[in-house]
Symmetry: C2
Subunit: 206 residues, 2 copies
């Protein structure tokens, strides 16, 4: 079956489903209904059914979805059934936290290089990696076939780091700096901004 | 004008608009079209127009939206025109990074307490705050009228921290631990999971 074109909104929800399905698998739960998914993910079950219909008509009325099958299918769609190497630039507290983040260490998305421009950071050990000079980024992107860059530098440095990443051949960016990056249209950027999450939470607090 | 009931999806997009509008204001740009917003935020302009229509019919054809007015209106809707005190539990690298995060220091959402259960962290200074014992959480939530909790502890500790936060009177949680928290339905939880962002990025990498 050929996969139809899927909207960005759906693509962004798939990892959320994946996370919860993996949690269910750990709990040895083999099937789940869209209603249960909706309750646990705080989403509309009809929306979930519509999203999952991209994978075919395999959800069964009164039984639900097969957890293991859905995990495999979502990984296929997201192309997570391959290894993708990641470079992180900015070895401060946030960069260190992300590099040590449990999930990064056993998944296909793997941080294989940590870079910083400040000499006092270079050589510092974070998990199994040593912080390298930012001057080495281009060389390492080619050598290790790095596809994704994570930016954890201050806002004032983020654009020049993004430019360097793109010149070096990186194909997608996850940006933690609170700034809107200017990048060519073919380079996807995700902005991980904790303030937006906090702000949307404020709405619900009386 | 009374504000109509707004869906969660819209509420989650409003801070994204707010961020970009604040950026435009810094650049001394006073009006913006839904088309420009869409281009810069990688969203459908029709979706943006629909979302912004909740604030009234003030976008003008061929001219666009007034940046300053929209900023004020979105802040009102999100109830960001008041101070909300925040407690952070988990003074590791991620907690330290968040506590130092520039935007938290001058906005209405303010981290006023950092807590950890490990004695080697207690007393450590992060910015203007000293890490306090987790035993003090309940007392401080009442004393400082803390409404929001940020969880930056390891996955295995997150549920018990969430339980303690809720018992202490916290009304909403931003969770960074890679685990799905069980909370009463009246407590909103946002999961800030960097892996989901990375995974949705993978889709766009050939």
């Amino acid at each position: 079956m050929k996969t139809p074109k899927i909207s960005e909104a759906v693509i962004r929800r798939l990892p959320v489903y994946l996370r919860y399905l993996q949690y269910l698998r750990e709990m040895n739960i083999t099937t789940v209904s869209s209603h249960e998914l909706g309750q646990n993910l705080d989403m509309n079950p009809a929306q979930i059914r519509k999203d999952l219909a991209y994978f075919g008509e395999f959800g069964r009325k009164g039984i639900g979805y097969d957890v293991q099958y859905l995990i495999e299918k979502i990984k296929q769609i997201l192309k997570l059934d391959r290894r993708l190497n990641v470079a992180l630039v900015g070895a401060g507290n946030l960069g260190t936290a992300l590099s040590n983040y449990r999930r990064f260490t056993n998944e296909k998305l793997k941080i294989v290089g940590i870079f910083d421009k400040f000499s006092e950071k270079i050589g510092k050990k974070i998990g199994p990696l040593q912080v390298q000079s930012l001057d080495k980024l281009s060389e390492m992107v080619k050598e290790l076939d790095i596809k994704i860059g994570i930016i954890t530098v201050p806002a004032s440095e983020a654009q020049s780091v993004a430019d360097l990443m793109i010149r070096s051949g990186i194909k997608g960016i996850l940006n933690f700096a609170p700034v809107i990056l200017k990048v060519p249209p073919e380079i996807p950027v995700r902005n991980a901004d904790v303030t937006t999450e906090l702000e949307s939470l404020a709405y619900y607090i009386e």
